[in-house]
Symmetry: C2
Subunit: 196 residues, 2 copies
DNA sequence: GTTTGTGAAACGATTCACAGCT
DNA sequence: AGCTGTGAATCGTTTCACAAAC
């Protein structure tokens, strides 16, 4: 029982959200069936997902809402805070700085960079946008766990190289391009597109 | 060779984007290998994806960039326009009305609804927000192919019921809830959340 | 009696590997 | 010689089904 499916992780955060709902409604215990109904999966799926990490339920009874929520937060690494640098102070970048959910989920933006002289020096949420040229120099002091790349596609790979060079091991990429990184660096590219 | 993987469809629109890039660069022909490199997959994957829909390449040569792009647009139903109604004139809703990419991709918003009296009557892009109570009455005249639900979670199911009742067969759901619909209605729930 | 936890079976997607066309 | 198209093999995920726990 080693490798955990990526899809399991995605569902785990869903479950957590539902548990928090149940918690708010004063529900003390849920069955895998109830969780599944809320999330549009099956009870077997819920149980298998959880079983990757241990056994948190009581047979014949279900799961303690509060306890399971706690365990999930633990598994998902919530409660822990992450230092993140943001590269790109354009539209998405500045939206992210102001987005409260980001901070709520444990992500603290500790610096913002841009290459456009018109954007450098502008303050967002009390943080002054710095020149991307200073990135290499600043990173050792910032010690960010995560970098968020929100540059145009043509700048993304260059920025990524600098980040990797400086030892960043996790990148969240909003640029519409496949970033080339060493195996020990995790990249998650998010697709800002709608399709049907 | 009947059922086409959902993931194949997702990749197809990626391929199309890359082909348009190549087209812009005056490239006349691509191999599956070249497309794969651009998109971070493998050549076998590209060929298998395309093979679900026919054989568009020339052995020993590759694919005609222009022709393949045309075929993909055809397969993906682009070029066709869709009439969409938007339910919810809140933050995301109003962003969507103004989002140009939506229209560019063939989606024409033909009406906007909200239940909040303060929002009803407000014009977005020259379109006046109407009261959601009028939905049932209006839909037969609007004949929308798609409805986009951007209401709060507690209103979403109710709105959905009305839409289904009126014969809408495709719903794009931004509310953080699992919508319950008959089998012949397609729902795509999009998750406005960031995780890592 | 109810509901979990989990091997085993079924299913679905990706990768391999090669025959066949250009 | 080069590259596609595709069955067959492989790999990963979901579903089944049931013994064990309460």
């Amino acid at each position: 029982m080693r490798k955990i499916p990526e899809s399991t992780i995605r569902r785990l955060s869903l479950y957590l959200r539902f548990l928090e709902e149940f918690e708010g409604q004063g529900v003390g215990t849920v069955s895998s069936e109830a969780l599944a109904a809320r999330g549009g999966t099956t009870s077997a799926q819920v149980r298998k997902d959880l079983s990757f990490f241990g056994s948190f339920g009581k047979r014949g009874l279900g799961y303690g809402v509060h306890e399971l929520a706690r365990r999930l937060r633990e598994i998902l690494g919530l409660g822990r805070r992450y230092r993140v640098v943001l590269i790109g102070a354009g539209k998405i970048g500045s939206a992210l700085v102001q987005y409260k959910g980001f901070r709520q989920r444990g992500f603290d933006i500790v610096a913002i960079y841009d290459s456009d002289p018109a954007k450098v020096g502008v303050a967002w949420n009390g943080m002054i946008t710095r020149d991307v040229q200073q990135l290499a120099e600043d990173l050792p002091g910032l010690q960010p766990e995560i970098a968020v790349v929100v540059t145009p596609a043509d700048a993304a790979q260059d920025v990524t190289n600098r980040l990797v060079q400086a030892g960043v091991k996790a990148i969240l990429n909003f640029a519409p391009i496949q970033l080339d990184v060493p195996d020990d660096v995790a990249v998650k590219t998010v697709n800002r597109a709608l399709e049907l």
